[in-house]
Subunit: 64 residues, 6 copies
C-alpha cells in the first residue's frame, strides 16, 4: 500500500521514462507519507495506444 | 472528468470500432451531463485476449 | 463483456443520473457492437469526491 | 458480479496459468458467496512487463 | 505482485466475507503460482451500490 | 493524459494529504514528461478501508 495504476500514451513510454516515472512517483508518495510508505509502494504503468484513448469524443492525436 | 475505462475482447477492436466506441460513449455522457462534460470525458479502451477473460470460471470462448 | 468502469465527481451522481448513465452507456455499446453485446455489458459507476480528483496538480473545484 | 481485475508479471502468464488462475479465483468466489456468484464472476487478467511494475521505486527484477 | 482488484455489490460485504474473500483469493494465487506469490499478493475489495452497477442497461436489482 | 489511479488506506487520507499527494504526483509526471503533461494529468485518489485491503491473505492491520 499504496497501489498506483498509471495509464498514458504507449508512445511516451520507453525503458528510461518507465524507470523515471516509477522512481519519481514513488518519491512523491514518500514526500507525503514518509519513506516507509515509499518502500511499500507498487506502481503498474499501462501504455494505451492513442487510437484507444478518447478525449472529448475523439481518439488521441499526435499533437496531444 | 469523467474517466471511463472500457475492457473488452481484443478481437472485437479495430480502428473503426475504437473510434465509434469513443464517440458513442462520449455522446452518452453528454446526453446525461451536458456537452461540457462530454468535452471533458476521457476514455481508455483496453483489449483483453479471450484466454485472459474468465466467465464463470472458464476463459472466454469464440462464441461469446 | 464488455466491462465499463466510470469514475466521476460524487456530487454529479444521484439515482436519476446513475440510471441514465448506465442506460445510455449500454446503448452506446449496442450501437457499436449490436444488442447482444449491450445485454452482456457490465458497468460500475464510481463517485470520487472533488477533493480526491486532481487536475493539473490541484483538487477538483466547484466550477469544474 | 463480481468483477475481478488481476494484474501480474506478463512473464508469469501462459495458456495454462491463465486458465488455472481463472478457475481457482472463481472457485474462491464460490466458496465465499456460493455457486451462483461463481457462475456470474468475470475476471480480466492483465500482464504487466517487469519494467513497468514498480516496487519501492524500482522496476520489478527477475528474482521477484 | 499480483494485485487483485475485486468489485462487487456493497451489500454482499461484511467483516466476515471480506476476510474470507481475501484469504480464499490469495490461496487461489498460491495454488497457481506457489506460496511465495501468495505472500506477495495484494487485494483491494471495492463495494459498489446496486444502483451504481449496470447489467444489460439496468441498475443491479435485489434478486441478482 | 496521463490518468493516475491511487488506492491506499482510507485512514491515511485527509484534506491535507489528498492535496499534497495530488500536487506531488503531478510534479513527478512533470519531471519526467514536462510541464505540459503535468497540466494534463488527472488523478483519482481512492481510500480503501484496511479490512478490505488484503496483504498475503490477511486484511491490512493497524501497524502496516
Amino acid at each position: 500500500m499504496p497501489f498506483i495504476d498509471v495509464k498514458l500514451y504507449e508512445d511516451r513510454l520507453d525503458e528510461q521514462t518507465e524507470a523515471a516515472l516509477i522512481a519519481r512517483l514513488t518519491e512523491a508518495v514518500g514526500d507525503v507519507f514518509g519513506p516507509g510508505a515509499a518502500e511499500q509502494t507498487w506502481i503498474a504503468v499501462q501504455g494505451v495506444p492513442r487510437r484507444r484513448w478518447g478525449i472529448g469524443g475523439k481518439p488521441g492525436s499526435a499533437d496531444q
